[in-house]
Each structure stands twice: as C-alpha cells, then as structure tokens.
C-alpha cells in the first residue's frame, strides 16, 4: 500500500525538516547557469570580497609598483647611512625607512609584491599547464598511459613538495628561473590528480553517456564536455596554489636558493636578511613576513570562497 512513484522533486519524497526555509529561496535560482549562480554566491560572500580585495590590491601594487616610488628596487645607494647597529627608520624620503643594505624599504616592499606575483603566477601556470595535460591524458586515454602517468605522480607526491622543489632547484642552479620551475614542477602532481579525478568522475556522468550514445567522438566529448566541467575546480585549485607558491618562493629564498643578489626585492629574501637586525629594526622582518602571510591569505580566502560558490553543497 504505497503512493505511486512521485515525479522527480515531487511532493512525497524526503523528510526535510528545513523544507520551508529553502523552498522559496531555491525557486529563483533555478534556471541560472552554474557560473552565474556561482558568481552570485561569490558576490554575496564577505569572505570572497575580503579575499578579492587583498588579491586585487596585491596585483595592482605589483603592476604599478614603478609609479608608486621614485626609487629603483635593489638599489643600495643609501648603504652609507646604514651601520651594523642602526638602520634609519621612516622619514619623509623613505616612508618605511631603509633596509639593512641601504635600500628604500618601501620600494623593496612594492617590488617584492611584483616579484611574488611573477614567481607565483609563472610557477602556478607551469604546474597548471603540465599538470592539466598529464591529467587529461591519463584520465582521457586510460590504460597504460594512465598507469605510467599516475605512478609518476605518486612518486612525485612521495617527496614533500618543498624538498622536491629544493632538489629541482639544485639541478637548475641559482637563479630566478630555477625557483619558478622548481615550484611549478612541484605543483604538477596536484593538477594532474585533480584533472584525472574529475575526468574519471565525469566519464561516468549522464551527459557523457548521453553524448557517447549519440555517437559523438571521444575526443570531442573530452574537449567539448568534460574539460569545461573541470574548469571550475581547476581555477579554485590554481588560486589556492598561488597562495602556496608565494609561501614556497619565500621558503626557497629562505633556504638560500633563488636569486643571488642579497638586496633583491623579494619578501622571503628580505626576511632572511632582516634576521640579524631584529633588535635594531624589527620592521625589516615583520613587514615582509606579514606581506607574505596577507597575500597568501587573500588567495586562500578567494580560492575557498570560489570553491564554496562552485559547489553549493559545501556551503554552511
């Protein structure tokens, strides 16, 4: 004695005590595309706004750095004013004072943003493109290609990423490129796994089945259907990875890899250099340290908000 099978979303399913609260709300979102919905949710999320503002400020500063300061980065022209026990503090000429090498700290901070952005973006782009390619090949072709790629990914994942980056940088020598490549390569497994996973889950999806049934060729299905559906999670991951990349750049600099100029405007390097001027001028360490943390925070907030927006299930 039962009521006949109800229509989809019909009256007699579920037992949702919160039914009434969502009813009216979901109504008006129906019909919006995933992206527009995500965008709407993103705009309403204060976390996303804070994150986006930080990221925006960071990017803008990085781009227009040269117009914000009359000085050149890495120029140690005031080195005569710096002594081992004293570093001149803020003054009208030097808003944040000098650093221990006699560069303008304000200028160094601005260009540090630029450096972080370039390192972060280039390395993430590298990891993203190679990782995506491998992931798509593995997930799309399957078989031995999949096995080989995924084993390689496993091997890379078996080394903590910082150590992986360090090993790669050791081979490439001491320069800016080696850091970017090292961090980029260390990100490859993350993207490869992500893409492969999302491809495999979608391979089983209804629309792929439908497309296959319609006789659409596999390559077209992948390019036309599966890939676009992986864009969301990939963008989210890339945003989150930018945060990690920025921290790892600083970490590699901290370990003495990367550019060889001690006065280079790079936050991690500035932090290292500031260590033995702690008592004299704590700001030399605090400013770049907080800059790294805040920038990473911005990307993390934005990334997580994007993840929430794209996947409504994760919303609180």
């Amino acid at each position: 004695m039962t009521i006949p099978l109800p229509p989809a979303q019909g009256p007699f399913t579920g037992n949702d005590p919160s039914g009434p609260e969502t009813g009216a709300y979901e109504e008006d979102e129906r019909g919006l595309s995933l992206w527009r919905g995500a965008w709407r949710r993103l705009r309403r999320n204060p976390t996303a706004i804070v994150g986006a503002l930080i990221v925006l400020a960071f990017v803008v500063v990085a781009i227009i750095a040269p117009w914000l300061t009359p000085y050149e980065p890495g120029s140690t022209q005031w080195s005569g004013e710096v002594s081992p026990t004293s570093v001149p503090g803020p003054s009208p000429d030097h808003l944040l004072g000098l650093d221990r090498f006699g560069s303008d700290l304000y200028t160094q901070m601005l260009f540090g943003a630029r450096q972080s952005l370039v390192y972060g973006v280039v390395s993430t782009a590298l990891g993203l493109s190679v990782g995506t390619l491998l992931g798509v090949l593995a997930g799309g072709l399957g078989g031995w290609v999949d096995t080989v790629i995924m084993r390689a990914v496993d091997i890379m994942l078996s080394i903590p990423s910082l150590l992986l980056a360090v090993s790669i940088a050791a081979v490439l020598g001491q320069n800016a490129y080696s850091i970017m490549i090292a961090i980029g390569v260390a990100q490859v497994p993350i993207f490869a796994r992500l893409l492969r996973g999302s491809m495999l889950s979608q391979n089983k999806g209804d629309y792929v089945l439908a497309a296959t049934a319609l006789g659409i060729r596999r390559r077209r299905i992948i390019i036309g259907h599966v890939l676009p559906n992986s864009v969301g999670p990939t963008i989210v991951q890339a945003t989150l990875n930018l945060a990690t990349a920025i921290i790892e750049v600083a970490a590699l600099s901290f370990l003495g890899l990367g550019e060889s100029d001690p006065a280079v405007a790079e936050w991690g390097r500035m932090l290292v250099a500031a260590q033995d001027r702690f008592e004299a001028a704590p700001r030399l360490a605090l400013l770049p340290g907080f800059a790294i943390a805040v920038t990473a925070l911005g990307f993390t907030l934005l990334g997580e908000a994007m993840r929430e927006a794209l996947d409504p299930r994760t919303r609180r």
């Binding site: 039962t2 037992n15 949702d16 919160s18 609260e21």
Partner: protein
C-alpha cells in the same frame, strides 16, 4: 508474552523502572500539544513558519496519526515535542503539556532525561540513523545504562533480549557487529528495539517504513503494532502514507504547510474526507476496493507552490475546490461535526457508502 511483564518480573530489572515517570495531565491526556508554532529564521533571510497553530492530544495507549507531504511540518512537530530542534535560528511557541508541565520550557538537561525513557522516537532512515562506527550492542546498551542503573553485563543481557523481541536472530553475535553488517529491515528493528528499550509512555515513529523495501514495510509495521500494544505505549505515527495510518491509528491529523487542516478519527476521516487535500491524498492511494482500471488521481502541483497562510488557504493554489475566499481569507480550524476542519469550501460529506473504508 509481553515485554512489560518480563521487564517487571525479571530479577535483574532495576528498581523502579517507572519511578519518576510523570502522571497524566490534568485532563487525562498523556501529551497535549496546544498552539504549537515553530519558526525558522535564517540569518539575512525572511523567517519561515514551519509549524503553526498545531494542537492535538494523545491519551495513554492511543495511536495518533500525523499525515502530510514532506514539508508539511509533521516532522518538525515531532522534533519540537522531543526538544530536538536546534537552539539557534528556531523559535518555538505554544505548549507541549506532559505531566502537567510544558516541555517547551524544560531545560535541555531535563529534556534529555525524559527522551528515550518517557518519549522515544523511531526515525525514517535506518541506513543513516545508526552510528556506523559504534557496535550495535553499545548503541542499545547506552540507552539502557543512561536511564537505568545497569551494569555493563546486565545491560548487554537486556539488549540481547530486546533484539530477540524485535525478531533479530542470533542476538549475541549481532550485538558485536556494526550497522553496515545489517540489512535495512534489521536496522529498523534495531532502532525500534532501542526506542522501546526503556518502555516509553509515548513512541513517536517518524515515517518508520518509508526507506524500506515494500516487502519489509508490512513486517516492520506489524512488529511496531505488536510491541506498542505489548508495552502499552501510546504511538504518534508520522507518515505521508495514509495506508500506514489506516492500519494503525485511532485518530488522524492531516497537516498541510505547517497547519492541521483536518483532524478526525480514522473511521470518520477515511470514510468521508472533507478537506480537499485529505480527499486528494486518499484519491492518490491505490485501493483494493476501487474498481479495476480506475485511475489514481494525483494532487496537481507541488507542495512548494503554496500561498502563505496569512493570505488565505495555503492549499488554494492546488485545490480543485478553491473559491475566491480561499485566496483572501485565512481559514480557521473549526469543529465540524465529528471532526475539526480548516476549509472554506470542504468536500461534501455524502460519499456513497461503498467508498467508505473500514481499515
């Protein structure tokens, strides 16, 4: 063979199983719900009233049905009675009178000692209602040990008996197992065993069979009926399935969009539904006595398509009988002969005799 007698006779039975249990309300009811209203307020969004103006009584040993589609507020009503609604974002008003006190005013500490012992509940989905990482034995004994001072061993022995009562074979072995090792029907038996472990005075069963295979459903209902009868507990059966109610309940309350729209004894309601919604529900149920080939008539529209009660009758958008008043004037629940009814334009009560049901 009754569980009650065994409990009381058993030498291991704790002294005063029923000690501290309340009396009946002054009016002789076990539980009396008056003007219960539940409002959900999610931050930044307008409040939603899930339950409003709900009143009904349960007398000792009585079987009451609460019927409605999902979202009608019947489950919220039961959770409100149990004090299981979240603290935040929920406003509850009205009265749930038990032992001459209003349960809604009880502290959560006091409620928790009442739950499971005086009022117990069986939930809809046995697959998710059992803790997957805790052995079944523990899940049964924990309620016994919470409410009675029992040693671990005694509690386990009692749990074994309970499992036997609900028809689970080889209880000793089962007690050591985990929920995923049981079938859905078995799990629901488990949940019933737990709910009846302390011989509650009222059992609330919230769609206890919905998630089960059709073949199992009847068995579980039968078991429930039998055990409730044995322990003498009152039963509040919450369901969307009029078939379930028909076989079980003395009195039926039909809810729509958070309010009771019709309330009557089973016989009266099934024999002559007067609210169009009740009528619609009955027409959409296949009946053995209906002519062969007679089509089932579903209620048009979906339950989300409602008119706020403050503007008129919530069912109006889907109602065949709707008149102008239905969209303008809020109907009140009024006594109407042998029933209570909330309708401006009820169905006529002159159904032919052959369509009346004796369940």
């Amino acid at each position: 063979m009754t569980v009650t007698s065994e409990f009381l006779d058993s030498s291991a039975a704790p002294a005063g199983v029923h000690q501290g249990r309340g009396n009946l309300n002054g009016d002789g009811t076990l539980l009396s719900v008056r003007d219960l209203a539940v409002t959900f307020g999610v931050r930044g969004q307008r409040e939603a009233r899930a339950v409003d103006e709900v009143s009904f009584d349960i007398r000792p040993g009585e079987h009451i049905g609460l019927v409605g589609e999902s979202g009608s507020g019947k489950s919220v009503t039961s959770l409100a009675i149990m004090g299981l609604l979240p603290d935040r974002g929920v406003k509850t008003s009205g009265e749930v009178r038990y032992d001459n006190e209003n349960l809604l005013t009880w502290s959560s500490r006091r409620m928790s000692s009442l739950r499971g012992r005086d009022i117990a509940m069986v939930f809809q989905d046995p697959m998710t209602s059992l803790n997957p990482v805790v052995p079944i034995g523990t899940q049964v004994t924990e309620i016994l040990r919470r409410h009675f001072e029992l040693s671990k061993g005694d509690a386990l022995a009692r749990a074994g008996e309970l499992l036997q009562k609900v028809g689970i074979p080889d209880p000793k072995r089962r007690l050591k197992e985990y929920p995923h090792q049981l079938s859905g029907g078995m799990r629901q038996r488990m949940l019933i065993a737990m709910a009846l472990a302390c011989e509650p005075r009222l059992l609330i069963a919230d769609e206890p069979t919905t998630a089960l295979d059709v073949t199992i459903q009847a068995q579980i209902l039968e078991l429930l009926k039998e055990l409730v009868a044995d322990t003498g507990a009152a039963l509040l059966m919450i369901t969307h399935d009029l078939g379930v109610v028909a076989g079980l309940c003395d009195k039926v309350n039909v809810m729509y969009s958070g309010r009771i729209v019709e309330s009557a004894t089973r016989r009266v309601l099934f024999g002559n539904p007067r609210h169009p919604y009740t009528g619609g529900l009955l027409e959409s149920v296949p009946r053995l006595d209906s002519p062969r080939g007679a089509p089932l008539t579903p209620i048009p529209g979906s339950p989300t398509n409602v008119l706020p009660w403050t503007h008129g009758c919530a069912f109006a958008p889907r109602c065949r009988n709707a008149v102008d008043d239905c969209r303008r004037v809020t109907p009140a629940l009024r006594p109407d002969g042998d029933r209570e009814l909330r309708c401006h334009n009820p169905l006529s009560d002159d159904l032919p005799d052959d369509q009346r049901t004796d369940a």
